[in-house]
C-alpha cells in the first residue's frame, strides 16, 4: 500500500466469464442507484472472475469474485471507465488478503479460505475453486487474440459504514471473445448459495483472460448519494 492511495496487485493470470441471469435477481442485490447492464431486456450480467496474484501488499494469493455489471458513472473531465461492476461476494486463499480487502476496499467477503487450482491448457484455462475439498465453482475460458492494454473500470462497494467506489486500472496482456466456448459449473456451497435460484446461463457470452499484468486500485471514494435498498 502506498501513502498516495494507489495500490498495485500483480497477477500471472486473471480470467472472467460473463453469464446472463434475470434482472429481478440483480435488482434484489444492487443498491437502488446502480443500474444493471442488460445485454437483453430482463437479463443482467453475472461476472465471475478469478485472479492468481503473485505480488501484492499481502503477498501472493488467489481470489474469486462474483459481481454484477453495472452502468459506470461518467464524470466530466475524467477518463472514461470501460465498464463498472458491483462485487457482492469475494473469496480469497489467505486470511491476510481477505482482511486487507475488507479493511482497505470494503469488499464483501466469504469469510473462509478457499483453494484455487489453475489448469492451463492449450488455448484455454480452467479454475477449480474449492473449500476444504468441497467444490465451489469450476470455470473454463478460452483465448482469442492477445494485445497489450490498459483498461479502466469502476467498482462500487458498500458495507455497514457506507458506499464507495474505486477506479481500477488493469494493465497487461488481454484476450476477450464472445465465441461461447467456455463454461461454468456452480456447485451448491455456502459461497454460491445466493445463486441457487437464479436462472443462470452456464455458457459465458463473453470470456476474458489477462496475463502478466498489474491491477491498480485508485484511492477509495466515499459516495453519499447511494441509498441502500
Amino acid at each position: 500500500m502506498s501513502d498516495n492511495g494507489f495500490v498495485q496487485y500483480h497477477y500471472r493470470d486473471a480470467i472472467g466469464g460473463f453469464f446472463e441471469f434475470p434482472t429481478e435477481n440483480a435488482r434484489a442485490l444492487l443498491p437502488q442507484d446502480l443500474q444493471p447492464i442488460e445485454p437483453h431486456h430482463g437479463s443482467s450480467v453475472l461476472s465471475v472472475m478469478a485472479f492468481d496474484f503473485h505480488d501484492s501488499p499481502v503477498g501472493s494469493y488467489g481470489e474469486l469474485i462474483l459481481s454484477i455489471l453495472t452502468a459506470p458513472r461518467v464524470e466530466q473531465g475524467q477518463p472514461w471507465p470501460r465498464s463498472a461492476f458491483f462485487p457482492f461476494r469475494l473469496a480469497t486463499t489467505t486470511r491476510e488478503s481477505r482482511e486487507h480487502a475488507i479493511e482497505r476496499w470494503h469488499l464483501p467477503h466469504y469469510m473462509k479460505d478457499i483453494d484455487l487450482r489453475w489448469d492451463r491448457g492449450d488455448g484455454h484455462v480452467t479454475i477449480h475453486a474449492t473449500e476444504r475439498g468441497q467444490p465451489i465453482v469450476d470455470m473454463t475460458v478460452t483465448e482469442f487474440e492477445w494485445s497489450e492494454v490498459e483498461h479502466r473500470y469502476q467498482a462500487f462497494m458498500h458495507d455497514d459504514e457506507g458506499f464507495y467506489s474505486s477506479t481500477i486500472v488493469m494493465k497487461g496482456l488481454f484476450s476477450e471473445n464472445e465465441e461461447e466456448k467456455g463454461g461454468i459449473v456452480i456447485h451448491t456451497q455456502a459461497m454460491t448459495e445466493l445463486l441457487e435460484d437464479w436462472e443462470l446461463t452456464t455458457t459465458p457470452f463473453r470470456e476474458l483472460w489477462m496475463k502478466n499484468g498489474v491491477q491498480t486500485f485508485h484511492p477509495l471514494q466515499q459516495l453519499a448519494s447511494y441509498a441502500r435498498r
Binding site: 494507489f6 500483480h10 437483453h40 430482463g42 477518463p79 470501460r82 479502466r152
Partner: protein, 425 residues
C-alpha cells in the same frame, strides 16, 4: 510496488460503447453530453464512424454518397440498401406518389383514429389483408411502431413474451412497454425455446423473425410452430425482410414453409422489398378492432403520409403482378453466392438475400470499409453491440435491380480488398 499511477493519456475509442455513456455522476441531465460527444467526435475523426452518411441519389445500384470524413461526394456501387425488388424508384411508384401528392397534399394531418384516415389508407389496408389472406390488416407509420404497438397493445403485466435473442429492437421495446415478463431464447434454438416455454404459465406470445437481418439466416419455423402449439403459445412472425421476397406468392417465410395459416400474427414492413415506409399487422378482424384502441404507437402518431401510402400500394401491385422480380432477385442471390464462395468469402449461415461478410475484427472493419469506399463499393460495417464482439462484418443486400455485371464488379472489389487485407487468401 505501489508507485504513483497516472490516468491513461489516451484511450481507444473502440473500448467503449453506448452502455459506457449511460449515466453521469452529475445531477444535470446534460452533463453526459460532453464526455459522450468527446467520444463520438474522436471516433468520427479517427474514421470509426462510417454511419449515417447522406446519399444524394435514390437507393439504386449506383449511388452518390456524401463521404463525411473527407467531405466529398463519391460515386459508388451500392450493395447496402434494403430495396430488394428495386421498387422505391420505379416510375409507376413515383407517378402514384405524385398523383397522391396532388390529390391529398403532403401529410395526413391527424391520428388514424381521428381525422388522419384517408381512403388511400383504407385501400392499402384492404390490399395487404387480401395479399396476406387474412381478415384484416392494420397499417402503422413505421416498421418500428408496428411491433411496439402490436406487442404493447396486446400483452399485459404477468403475461409472457418469449423472443429470439436476435430479435429486432422494435420487438424488444414493445415487450418492455407491455410490462409483461420477457425471456429470450438462444438464436434459432428450438430446444431453448421449449425450455423457456416449459418454465412459464399463463398467456404466452412467442416472437420470431422470418429472416434475421444481421446474419441473413431463416428461422426454423416448422419446429417453432410445433413447440408453440404444444405449449399453447401464440406466434408473432416478423417478416420485415422476408415478406414480398419468400414464398410462391411472395407472402413470406410462413408461406415458403406452408405454414401461413399457423401463424397468429403476421408483421411486415413497407420499407424493405416495397421500397417505401411503414408497417402492417395482418391477422383477424378481432385483433384489428382491439389494436385500433390499444396500439398506442399508432393511435398517438400521425397516419402514414398518403403520398407514401399511394406509393406503397403501387409497389404492392407491382410485386404481385411481376413475380419475375422475385425470380430475378433469387437468380441474383444464387449468382453472388457462387461468386462469393469461389472467392472464399465467409458469409456465415446466410441463406437469404442478406449476406454477412465476416471480418471478425472490430478495428479493421472500419479500415477495410474506407478502402472499399475508395475502391467504389458501398458496404455498411456492422460492429458490436449490433453483433457480438469480434463478429464484425459488412452486410451485403442483394436487389433484383442489380445486374450480374454489377454483382460481379462488387464481388471483385470486395475480394481484392479482402485479399489485400489478408482476410481471404
Amino acid at each position: 510496488m505501489a508507485t504513483r499511477v497516472e490516468a491513461p493519456a489516451s484511450s481507444n475509442v473502440l473500448d467503449y460503447d453506448y452502455s459506457s455513456f449511460f449515466y453521469s455522476s452529475s445531477d444535470d441531465p446534460f452533463a453526459i453530453l460532453e464526455p459522450y460527444n468527446e467520444w463520438y467526435n474522436r471516433a468520427t475523426r479517427q474514421g470509426y464512424y462510417l454511419f449515417a452518411q447522406p446519399m444524394s441519389t435514390p437507393p439504386a445500384a449506383r449511388i452518390s454518397l456524401e463521404e463525411q470524413l473527407h467531405n466529398r461526394t463519391v460515386p459508388l456501387l451500392n450493395l447496402s440498401s434494403y430495396n430488394y425488388l428495386g421498387l422505391s424508384y420505379r416510375p409507376e411508384v413515383i407517378e402514384a406518389a405524385k398523383r397522391a401528392l396532388d390529390k391529398y397534399g403532403l401529410g395526413a394531418a391527424g391520428s388514424p383514429i381521428l381525422s388522419g384516415t384517408m381512403d388511400i389508407h383504407v385501400e392499402l389496408e384492404e390490399a395487404i389483408a387480401k395479399f396476406k389472406g387474412k381478415e384484416a390488416a392494420m397499417v402503422f407509420p413505421t416498421g418500428y411502431s408496428t411491433n411496439v404497438g402490436m406487442i404493447s397493445g396486446l400483452m399485459r403485466p404477468g403475461d409472457w413474451i418469449i423472443a429470439d435473442q436476435n430479435s429486432h429492437a422494435s420487438i424488444v421495446d414493445g415487450a418492455i412497454l407491455s410490462k409483461a415478463n420477457v425471456r429470450f431464447f438462444r438464436h434459432n434454438n428450438v430446444a431453448d425455446l421449449e425450455k423457456k416455454l416449459r418454465q412459464t404459465t399463463g398467456k404466452k406470445l412467442v416472437a420470431v423473425e422470418g429472416i434475421y437481418s444481421m446474419d441473413g439466416d431463416v428461422c426454423p419455423l416448422p419446429d417453432i410452430v410445433d413447440v408453440c402449439k404444444r405449449y399453447g403459445a401464440r406466434i408473432l412472425l416478423d417478416e420485415a425482410h422476408s415478406c414480398f421476397v419468400y414464398g410462391p406468392n411472395g407472402r413470406g417465410v410462413a408461406e415458403h414453409y406452408g405454414l401461413h395459416e399457423e401463424i397468429d400474427i403476421h408483421i411486415g414492413t413497407f420499407s424493405k422489398a416495397l421500397g417505401g415506409q411503414g408497417g402492417y399487422v395482418a391477422s383477424s378482424r378481432g385483433l384489428y378492432n382491439y389494436l385500433k384502441g390499444f396500439a398506442r404507437s399508432r393511435v398517438f402518431s400521425c397516419s402514414l403520409s398518403p403520398v407514401v401510402a399511394a406509393g406503397v400500394l403501387e409497389s404492392l401491385k407491382l410485386a404481385q403482378q411481376e413475380p419475375q422480380l422475385r425470380e430475378t432477385l433469387w437468380k441474383n442471390v444464387a449468382h453472388i453466392r457462387k461468386r462469393l464462395d469461389a472467392e472464399g468469402v465467409d458469409v456465415g449461415d446466410s441463406t437469404s438475400q442478406i449476406f454477412p461478410v465476416m471480418i471478425r475484427n472490430d478495428r479493421r472493419v472500419f479500415e477495410i470499409g474506407h478502402k472499399l469506399l475508395r475502391a467504389g463499393l458501398y458496404l455498411q460495417p456492422i460492429i458490436y453491440p449490433a453483433v457480438a464482439k469480434h463478429r464484425s462484418r459488412f452486410r451485403v443486400s442483394v436487389s433484383a435491380s442489380h445486374t450480374f455485371e454489377q454483382l460481379d464488379e462488387g464481388v471483385s472489389i470486395l475480394a481484392r480488398v479482402l485479399r489485400e487485407e489478408g482476410i481471404i487468401l
